[in-house]
Symmetry: C2
Subunit: 246 residues, 2 copies
């Protein structure tokens, strides 16, 4: 049984496989062998959090009242802290944050543009659903990082994101406006596709694997699939919690 | 000699005068008697910092490159921390942040709109000059707050705002573009007027004072004037530092 939320216990018996290492068929989804290098991970996760911060800051600026603005500003602050925590990790390893984030700018900026939404509620839903999915994903992926950094990053990303205010605002709006609810349900369904593509791009593009009958990449895909099933399940729970049909 | 930057030493011999208390003519500018009540101060300063954060977040979102974006995000984070520090003070006193900030929303939002600038460099200059002036001002004003809160607020507001990146970006742009420099000089001159009006609104609107020959308010104005002279001097130093004529 794979637990998605929270950290898996550290297991010494699960050696990290190289990208081209022999695939050990197992019931347990081991993401370690699918994890990118540390620098790739940190750069992409850091730029993801920065983008999430920018979206939240835009939600702050356009909030309909002061109490919500205040709550969102706290969420923006928490997201920015996670970003800066990842930046600190990049610097600690002697690298330049801008250089490390640069490879991910074009695709993640396009993702933000595509998921910025037509109004404040769509923006809020994007922040909640895409932010939640990607945070879950990077926490999961951090399992495959070296032990001197993986657990620290998982703890950082797992800290409370202050999204209660987003959930509350969305729930209230959906309860009071059936039409908005069905529009947001459609928006949520569209978001998950775009967001999963971002997550997919954090993993190896192809992996020849060892299963010659299934062709190149099939082995990696087979290992990735359960992870995405988990991500989608968590997404569905978020949608349900808002009263939206996933 | 009044020192504007940094805290004046706490002096027990300077009793806080009520707004209508007898004016003690003195060489030393004592802002204590001009300070608003604690709740007024905290609400206005907190919303000021939130507005400054929103401006910086917009500068982050529109930054021309990743290194600058990263530096600005740190400045935005520091400003947001100050805002949340003031929110904590409001909550500590048993008040609701939204209620306390509400009276200042209309005027400060208009101020932000008027000073948002026509492009990224004007926005940056606004963040630096208006943010700096108002922060100086609230630090100065905090001298008049009760001792169980004034020094703590002054320390909070006096923390490094991370504006080095703004100065560096503006200096570089001004050095490389004479036309931009003269446009920004004009913008800086316009900013200071709008910003001083915000500062003025944090002080008592009128004060009958004790000088009957000069008419109502004259005594208060006489005490306020030196404070504004200091604010303008600090503003001029900031302009000079950028290579702009104030």
């Amino acid at each position: 049984m794979v637990t998605w939320f929270g950290r898996r216990p550290q297991r010494n018996e699960a050696p990290r496989l190289s990208a081209r290492g022999a695939l050990q068929p197992t019931e347990k989804v081991d993401i370690s062998s699918l994890a990118p290098g540390v620098q790739h991970f940190l750069g992409q996760a850091a730029y993801c959090e920065l983008g999430e911060f920018e979206s939240l800051a835009r939600a702050v600026a356009t909030a309909p009242n002061l109490a919500v603005k205040e709550g969102l500003s706290a969420a923006a602050g928490r997201t920015l802290s996670k970003h800066h925590g990842l930046i600190t990790e990049i610097r600690r390893r002697g690298h330049d944050p801008a250089t490390e984030m640069a490879p991910f700018v074009a695709s993640l900026d396009e993702f933000r543009r595509n998921t910025s939404g037509a109004d404040w509620h769509e923006l809020l839903l994007s922040c909640y659903l895409a932010g939640g999915l990607l945070e879950d994903f990077f926490i999961r992926l951090s399992d495959g990082l070296p032990r001197d950094i993986g657990p620290r990053v998982a703890q950082l990303l797992g800290e409370n994101s202050g999204t209660d205010v987003l959930v509350h605002e969305l729930q209230t709006a959906i309860e009071n406006d059936v039409e908005l609810g069905s529009r947001l349900a459609m928006w949520g369904r569209r978001l998950v596709g775009d967001t999963l593509l971002v997550a997919r791009s954090a993993m190896p593009a192809t992996d020849p694997g060892t299963d010659s009958t299934a062709g190149p990449g099939a082995a990696a895909e087979a290992r990735i699939e359960p992870v995405f099933t988990e991500l989608i399940a968590a997404h569905t729970r978020r949608m349900d919690g808002l009263g939206l049909t996933a």
